[in-house]
Symmetry: C2
Subunit: 197 residues, 2 copies
């Protein structure tokens, strides 16, 4: 059994995920969000792309069988298992500025954006290079008529997970989300493990 890692509440981490390895992102308590970023480990200018992925998938509801593409149209990750089926790939990670915007009465927090920027710095990723993340378990329904989007608590329950297979050597950024609206107002950890190819 591969080692289980915990990302404490309102924090983030970064790590290598080699081609063929499998990343399992687990919501240990339910209703928590994990923002995921991926960079080509050998050329960080190649990065996960919501626009390419949604274009190829022809849906905004990505789940088992879908592939996550880079800005160069290469497959970075394939979703192999998904016990939730509801994730977001429209919104950028919450940040100091988004906290100020959405939660003017709360103490500001650097958010997933700040946590990802800090975790990815040793890999040479600067804050301006952080794109739209694949937000595991984030529940953002869209009204097909009006286009309005809402950020609701995740539908994930304790122990739910999503598993990705790496199609190239990657640097992964991953968080336990810091925004109250994303997770029903409570802050919880995220678990992950890396399984050998």
């Amino acid at each position: 059994m591969s080692e289980m890692h915990e990302i404490p509440e309102r924090s983030g981490t970064a790590f290598r995920l080699n081609k063929g390895e499998r990343l399992v992102v687990i919501d240990p308590r339910g209703e928590q969000v994990a923002d995921l970023l991926a960079f080509n480990a050998h050329d960080i200018d190649e990065v996960i792309s919501s626009g390419r992925t949604l274009d190829y998938a022809e849906t905004i509801q990505l789940t088992t069988g879908h592939k996550l593409y880079s800005n160069r149209s290469s497959v970075m990750l394939a979703i192999e298992e998904d016990t939730v089926g509801r994730h977001d790939f429209l919104l950028t990670p919450c940040s100091y500025d988004t906290f100020h915007h959405f939660y003017p009465t709360l103490p500001p927090h650097r958010g997933c954006f700040g946590n990802l920027a800090a975790a990815l710095e040793p890999y040479g990723v600067t804050p301006d290079r952080i794109p739209v993340a694949f937000n595991c378990f984030m529940n953002v329904p869209i009204d097909g008529e009006t286009g309005k989007l809402r950020v609701l608590p995740p539908i994930s329950r304790a122990g739910d997970f999503i598993a990705f297979r790496a199609a190239m050597d990657l640097v992964i950024g991953l968080t336990a989300c810091s925004a109250p609206d994303s997770n029903g107002g409570t802050f919880k950890p995220i678990h992950y493990r890396v399984e050998a190819a």
Copy 2:
């Protein structure tokens, strides 16, 4: 009256748009798409961000009154007028790779991505820095239940337009789209003009 510029079919251009100036993008024949990018003219690492914009707007249907934000949460452009009300901010510009994917029997084309990369090169923008574009007039309805998206012909008619006010000094990239599905299978020019502050 400011000068009218024509972007020939399946091509693109780039130009400066200074703070306070107004950019009017016109669909002269109807049912054509124009991909729009914006960079801070003084620091091209600050770039238009679909993720930030959709987060702040809380809708994917952007129109008059909405603002387009950068990756640093600054307002770049405000939509002042819009005679169409249906645009896309989910998908990346069509490219050689997307042509190969969606139109395997057609001669490949460098698409809006290639046209934008060429037009923006003199401003120091490299292809990897091209994000999700604001796709004027592009009609991408989403099924709220299934999440499925479709690329339909625009609802714009001849002479329809969208007008933006620049909130900072910008470099703009703009195309007349090259993808058959985006415009009902025909290729047409796009017109634009820049009005003084």
